[in-house]
Symmetry: C2
Subunit: 280 residues, 2 copies
């Protein structure tokens, strides 16, 4: 009997989403404890590096395949830690990370997907979004940054966009890092307890906690309405940082492996080149 894939365990089923019913401390797909999880992650380093290099090589050889990892989650859910510990396992030459802040006036004027399209990975590359176009249906909805009808129109625009992306050879992996409100409190407390972490803290973080239920609801709506076959959502329980890193890495591996990326064949005569080299 084969093990279930991480994708199958973490992929959100179609239909209405109830985030409160999804345990933020669970570790689906992994039986061990923290130290086991950390060791397992390190063992995946060479695996994911090999796959990433094959993708990179294929890109150099003219292939159009690429991968986009979209990482969303509440403040302190570990988007940065995921970049460092999961994404950081790969060769930085093949990876481009883009963190999206509030859009500038120019970006706003050009439509919410404009800056997203600008930041898409090139063939052979792995692009990683720390926040994304989903903020335009999350923060935009909760903070009423645009009219409700505008938010409403965006879900389908996102689905169209992601379908186009997937159809053009870009594997889209969407991950929501799911933490509890209590875990967020503990993580903010750590920032206030350690002067080396003050810079990560902003008093508005507390104001935002009052909006926790609104944001959870906005996530549920976005997850439900943009959970397509072309670009499904994965919800990763993220109260345990080690599990989060392991799960995201496994999801990346499971999305790269099926591409069956062979090393590009030589487009030159290998033996002739050996002779030329020896004579050089």
């Amino acid at each position: 009997m084969s093990q279930p894939t991480w994708s199958s365990l973490l992929r959100l089923p179609p239909g209405p989403v109830d985030l409160a019913s999804l345990d933020t401390r669970a570790t689906p797909g992994f039986d061990g404890k923290k130290a086991d999880g950390q060791a397992a992650l390190q063992e995946l380093g060479p695996v994911i590096s090999d796959l990433q290099e094959r993708l990179f090589a294929a890109g150099r050889a003219g292939g159009d395949q690429r991968l986009l990892l979209v990482v969303q989650g509440m403040d302190t859910s570990g988007k940065g830690g995921t970049m460092r510990h999961a994404v950081g396992l790969m060769d930085p030459q093949g990876v481009s990370i883009r963190a999206f802040k509030a859009p500038t006036p120019t970006e706003r004027r050009r439509g919410f997907l404009w800056r997203i399209r600008q930041a898409l990975p090139e063939p052979g590359q792995i692009g990683v979004f720390d926040r994304s176009h989903y903020e335009d249906v999350l923060a935009a909805r909760v903070r009423k940054l645009v009219r409700p009808a505008v938010v409403e129109s965006r879900y389908e625009a996102i689905n169209d966009f992601e379908r186009e992306l997937a159809g053009s050879g870009c594997v889209v992996v969407k991950v929501m890092l799911h933490i509890s409100a209590d875990e967020q409190r503990a993580r903010l407390a750590e920032r206030l307890d350690d002067p080396a972490k003050y810079w990560k803290y902003n008093p508005s973080d507390i104001d935002d906690r009052k909006l926790w239920p609104d944001f959870q609801r906005a996530y549920e709506i976005a997850l439900e309405r943009c959970n397509t076959d072309a670009a499904p959502w994965h919800v990763v329980p993220a109260d345990r940082k080690w599990y989060r890193n392991l799960a995201v890495t496994q999801l990346l591996i499971e999305h790269l492996a099926p591409l069956k990326l062979d090393w590009p064949p030589a487009d030159f005569d290998v033996e002739a080149e050996k002779a030329r080299l020896a004579a050089s």
Copy 2:
């Protein structure tokens, strides 16, 4: 008696440069063998990560400091390996790598420093150039891509540019990875022996070997004429990959440490925020 710094050992002295007199297999500053060097590199991981995070934090807090690492070297000198093994020790969120290929017609029209300026690191970031504006006095000179007078004018333009950069809070670390022609042959041979490396090989690599003396001479001229106090050159013996990784990492550490980057102080009342958080 204190140990000499890596910077002092690897920094190019002022005056004419004779690359042939610089041993490509030497390991200045390090007595051990390969395994020792690899272990030493791993031990530096937390050191350089800490420094990089402090730089990042200072940038978030409004500081304008940043670092630009310029990596130059002949084909197969290990620019990519340096990205992976030295630069890759740091959090990818704080690092942006840019590889420069032959300029596009638009880039050419805008002047050789235009695309370089576009790619400079933001405050708090570490920017890494895999090739750089130096190609505009290296490849441009050897391949006669522009008139000699144009090449001549560029050395001073580069010095002015780098002086301006350094004056604006950007630490400039310039590294030439110095390999021998024999080592290059061995590395190209590896690519021809391993089907997983064919994609890295191009028959023009052999044609370029005929230009080896011309490129070495072009390097000597560029190294001599652009070896300023604001942005001195370092020549890293690079026949031994482990030494190259260790030396570049040490150079980065020695350029970050003197910035004495303290963690940004809280710009809020810590105790008041703790109370607000507890009540949230």
